[in-house]
């Protein structure tokens, strides 16, 4: 039996990747990010370049809005920045590299020091019966953990006020954790391009599709004797933003619902790509994925169902699209959209303590 599982005898060879990815060092973010990546997600945090042994490395999600004087440095609605990494060719040839990008939220327990102070950058390191337990949970695991707590508490016949409170908060966590995970997909938006002059974004990356880039690696590329211009070509920069208000997505600068801080992400002067302006592409995505963007009881965000036949007479997608399309004549219609967007930000903020962004580069 043991002989059969010997890897050497299988006649399988590993396909060599025609490239590696690298990030520039040193990192400037807090070192405890590294320990988390290393200990809990098995990411190598000292390597700056991938290899056969190091399939996963750490990059930096530069937050242009981070405030070093703010002790609780972190992301919030309105944060934006970029991610930069380099493709290091290994084998000559033409390759289409597929990139996937995902922002995944985690629930974390924060440590308090001896004085009871919340230490913003130190996560709780808990051991139970001598075994270490995770200090942060995926939102699904956290919901499951809370479900367990709910069943335990519901079994108590006469709960104390504290137990009742705990039960209510666990129920809320179970309801909101999956929502937070969903809303992150619609609130942390990734783009392939951003103009430093107009500040407009273009080439939205649909998280379900990702994006492709085709490169022809030359012998010089492989030898590493590249010109600065070539290095630039092999450098991938992605732009991310967590819009503060929904108005930033759909309105033009100068509109009263926007200001300098919450500026428009798109402009009506942006040229169309494949028949769609960057804003039209974004709006089409929002209309068909409204569940990733809005938390609202407003009837706009749910399908209209005929009470007699039970048939959907108007879909939420078409209602949202119509509302956005009519904004020029009914500017106040932005309010329910902004509110729905804002409510979902609140759910993210209350349930997600750590955001993990992962980019995967692969050749088909």
């Amino acid at each position: 039996m043991n002989k059969d599982v010997d890897g050497n005898g299988m006649g399988v060879t590993t396909a060599d990747l025609p490239f590696e990815v690298a990030v520039s060092a040193p990192y400037t973010n807090s070192p405890d990010y590294s320990s988390l990546l290393q200990s809990q997600l098995s990411y190598n945090t000292s390597a700056h370049e991938t290899s056969g042994n190091v399939g996963e490395i750490k990059c930096l999600m530069n937050d242009a809005t981070a405030d070093p004087t703010n002790p609780m440095r972190g992301m919030q609605p309105g944060s934006y920045g970029s991610i930069t990494f380099m493709i290091k060719p290994k084998i000559t040839g033409t390759y289409t590299i597929h990139f996937d990008i995902a922002a995944v939220g985690y629930h974390a327990e924060f440590e308090t020091d001896n004085a009871g102070a919340l230490q913003p950058n130190i996560l709780k390191n808990t051991t139970v019966n001598g075994e270490s337990v995770p200090v942060f949970y995926s939102l699904a695991d956290y919901a499951e953990l809370q479900s367990g707590i709910i069943s335990e508490l519901e079994a108590i016949s006469s709960p104390t006020p504290e137990q009742r409170e705990k039960l209510a908060s666990a129920r809320e966590d179970v309801a909101n954790s999956p929502k937070a995970s969903r809303f992150l997909k619609g609130h942390i938006l990734f783009f392939e391009n951003w103009s430093s002059s107009t500040k407009y974004y273009s080439d939205f990356i649909d998280p379900e599709i990702g994006f492709d880039r085709t490169y022809t690696f030359t012998a010089d590329d492989v030898a590493g004797t590249m010109t600065a211009a070539r290095t630039e070509e092999l450098t991938v920069t992605l732009y991310w933003i967590w819009p503060n208000t929904f108005a930033q997505i759909v309105l033009d600068n100068g509109n009263t619902y926007l200001n300098e801080r919450d500026a428009a992400m798109f402009g009506s002067t942006q040229p169309a790509i494949s028949g769609q302006t960057p804003r039209e592409k974004m709006i089409a995505y929002i209309a068909s994925h409204s569940d990733l963007f809005f938390e609202s009881t407003n009837a706009v965000f749910s399908d209209t169902i005929d009470p007699d036949s039970g048939e959907v007479t108007e879909t939420a997608a078409s209602k949202i699209a119509a509302l956005i399309a009519g904004l020029s004549s009914n500017p106040d219609d932005i309010v329910p959209l902004n509110n729905g967007y804002n409510n979902s930000d609140q759910i993210i903020g209350e349930n997600v303590q750590i955001l993990f962004t992962e980019i995967t580069a692969s050749v088909p």
Partner: protein, 294 residues
Amino acid sequence: MKPKLITKFKALSRRKKAGIGVASVLSAALVFSIPVAAWFTNQRKLADLQYVNSPSKLYIRAGHDEESQYIDLSNVQVTATSDTAKYYVFAVTGSNATYYNLQLAYTTNNQFEYFLYPAKENTGTAPAVTPMPFVPYTAHSETGTSGNYYYTVDASVITAQPENTPAADAHRIIDGTEITREGTAHTISAGFLNKDGDLIKAKKTTSGTIDYHVNTYGNTVSTENVQDCAEPLYWQARGIKSGMDTTTRELTDYYILEVNWAKAKKAIEDEGDTFTDNRETDVIYISVASSTGT
């Protein structure tokens, strides 16, 4: 160990034997998949972690952090004393807000001016000579915090404004004021959105791309149908560093609101009229929103 296992196996029913057989095959399949997975590892990954800030919560509350129902702006008697100002206290409270913007919006029927000062709470006996601005406040017994407090300018928080000569004006929040909280000084920008120079009355004009008349009354009400004094003034102090406690992440910042009628009095007396207590009604809104500090 081994003979025992075999004995046990023999003792099992046929169905159970078959079950073990299936389990063994499955285990083998799982072990097989490990080297095979390497075949598919034609990908590289990059990752980053970011902390997500907790949402800010901000409230306007009364003195001694009591419910906002206790904010009392009554009793402005302009002829009762020789003073030309009256002072009130309110609090900005909440959690997880490093910076915030404070806004005032008010109508100008009375031609009053409004100013803000960062304040601190004092307990005990008030000084014999009260420094202005000075606000006594009696906490309400129903909140379980009854007692007497008084509020004075917190000079450790706000840098004095040298261009303002009267002592009481020195710590008003104006454009360029520095607020120092939690050891860091932060310069704020403050000012009116729709007021020009000494005009107390709001102008119905457009500033930049923003039409304040339309913003207040909408497109359907023309400027002719709105009396000048009913066009509210909008004032904002942007990027005030909060007094958030880094341990509890909570904040309670007190402010003194000054209602000043010196200019209104002068304007009326300059016209030869008497400045009386018969006043119109004005509406004032105080609001607070979290901000990034810029």
